[in-house]
Amino acid sequence: MPPKVDREKCDGCKVEKEPLCEQVCPGDLMTLGEDKKAYCRMARDCWDCMSCVKICPKGAMETRIPYQIGYHGAKLIPLMGTNTITWTLIDINGKVERFHYINRGSLD
């Protein structure tokens, strides 16, 4: 399932040629539409790697979890620190699980 873009928050990375989500997407699926907002052009090919969700500086991206993992309404939200990442997983019953990781390797 491709990521959902909040069209109000997305600023198309100030209408750059390549917005951040496009640069980071391993399948080169994200691009800017005519309204200068990002969208996923090949919904079937998305692997749900969530690179775009993590990188979006506006927080405009949201993952839609594939039905094999969680039913509609479940959410997986990453929050990026400088060298850390925290995950919040909310299932359809509203049960919340959280994970916090410190990335390996140094910051530079």
Partner: protein, 787 residues
Amino acid sequence: MIPKVIPKVGIFIYDAGGRLSRAIDLAEVVQRLAKAKNVTRREVFNNLEAPDPISSIQEDLRAGRLNRILWVGRFPDARRRRIEGELTAAGLNPYLQEWCDLEEQGIGRGDFDRAVQAQKAIILIQMALARTRLLAPLMPLEIPAVDAALIIGGGVTGLHTAASLADLGKKVFLIEKESGVGGKVAALRRLYPLICDPHCGLEFALQKLEKSGRVEIHTLTRVKTLAGSPGNFSVRVEKQPRYVDEQKCIACGECITACPKEIQAGNTFPLAGDFSNRGQQVWNPNGLEKAIHQARPLAYPSTYVIERQHCPPECRECQKACPTRAVELEQTASELEFKAGAVLIATGWDPYPLTRVEEYGYGVYPNVVTNLEMEHISEEPPDLQEVGFIQCAGSRDERYLNYCSSVCCSITLKQVLHLKEKRPGVRCYIFYQDIRTSGFDEELYQRVKSLDQVIFIRGDPATVKPEENGRLRVRAEDTFSGKELDLHLDLLVLAGGMVPSEGSRELAHLLKLPQNSYGFFEAHLPCHPEESQRTGIRAGGACRGPMNVVHSIESGHRAAFDVLPFLSGTVRLEPTYPVLNLTKCDKCKRCMEECPYASFYFDGNGFPVPDLAKCRQCGNCVGSCPLFAVSLGHFTVQQVASQIQAIKSGFLGKEEPVVLAFLCKNDAYPAAKGAAESGLPIPPNVFFIKVPCAGSINNAFIADALGFGIDGVLIAGCQDDQCHYVKGNQLVKTRKENLAEKLQKMVIEPQRVRFESLEIRDSRRYVDLVTSYIAELKKMGPNPFKT
């Protein structure tokens, strides 16, 4: 690539005569630090004056047993500077020392448990230690610079500032769009308070310029482009043809006699509409001159100038008449380029077009004039009996100009004095809202009030109508007595306001200089009145706002003083400038967007690069980067991240909240420091990190803090519109809102991130704020990431 040096940190705890050991058990602290990584020495000392530990540190530094020093405790500023000097002498880079003041973080304040205080102290030392490990030696940068200044505008501000800069030995290029220098002031007849001729002061400045030999004046010249950075600007200008060779013309006047074409005398006040020359037409019947004439407004340079657009075709009379063959009718416009270290703008003001204020009939009735036209009339007044002056004509009125131009009251008083001197019998009526003679101008007011036949009327005239005999019938109400007045006047003078000149607007566009809502160049009031958001470019004089001649000259000098560092041959930069990690950067150019000083440009590969000479090192780029690829020297992302990681959020137990505060070093940090200094009880739950500007706080820092289980993050910056770096507090607020929304989705209370404005003396408020925030967080429960 700098080889990685293994840090060898020495921790030195200054007990300050037992002050610290009274609050915490220092032996325990030292013992707890025994296993800290990269620490080779850890000591407590009690006497600042004893040769130890400084001499033994120097020895260790020279022997390579130490390469970073962490000072813990409260040091007198003067002593701190001395220690820095002493260790620099032993070969330690000043940026390899870290100072950790436990008292300003609240250790020893309030009656909190000794054990809790000791734990907080250990965390604080570990935070500082984490940072100390990552310190890098830094050296100031020196950029070669040009020692010349460019001044745009040859009015009274430009000339006096040029003269002073030349006195300091600087080369000055002065450009002026008119054919001669002097600007608006040269077109005035009298200056208050001495009622003296303004040409005298201008002449004085010009003689100084001539003598110095360091000032190049280019008239009929306008700026075309500006490139480069502070210290090394290159300015292209366009010089319009003069048609007379400046090297040959001796201003003998033979060409003027020969010239067949008479034109309307040049108007020194560009007024609106076709009535621009009317003042001279009515009161000076000889308002004609030839197409070749002297430079204006001041005949300097003394070379003549031809207004070619008025020349009859194929006319060569002036060329034939010129004894020195100075006339060159084939001249064309040329472009010049100047290298300058700094640019000063002194483009001045324009009079407000009074034709817009229709009720007074300016431009319709010939004997309604502006105060500028009155300058000439009061010098050689015709036969007048009754004269009216209307103050604030169009000023302080939301339909026209809703500000006070500050000089018009004094100008009117000056003109009344001058007129009464020439024609003692004239009766003057002054219609006013308020007479605003600030400072010593009050004396002028007193002098006018003591004159005979000068009547002050509070209230604006209701109607101005012409009469058959050429006089004006003015009806007004004196709002003090409530009496209706019906006056018959020979002349009505309107005191119009000042607006930014056409040239200012043009330059603002060209140099991308921010203007305020009235179109004057923006400043940071009150601390930096000549501040501009473009480093190395300053504006002075009336292009900053309405001001009189005295203030204009002062303002020009102040602006020149501000740019002196860029005129000294080298620009010295502190090493705390931004550095981009280009392997991380993906050219999103958010740093470029958010930089308040427009100091970023694209390098050859499309990466944004800061122009270090333009940069003011506020760190807003650090905060803006979504990939945290930007760091300031001595405030790197790694250093801050490591400090945050060193905070043990559970040290007070899971239920007791821990707050991390990011304090702007300009306002909020002194407030917090003041709280400690005045002995206010600072709860042990709060840790702060000093940041260069609230705008330098990256959302990733906050995410880090929340991820490590810190219960609340407090961002304290300046009040709205008071940020020293223009908009840092607004930027961080927007980012915070963005993050709060995400937290909401994550089922974390968005109140865990909070922005507050603190003024520099808000010490008590800081303590109250922190205390109430802790209580609020306690009610909220612990951060779900807390372990």
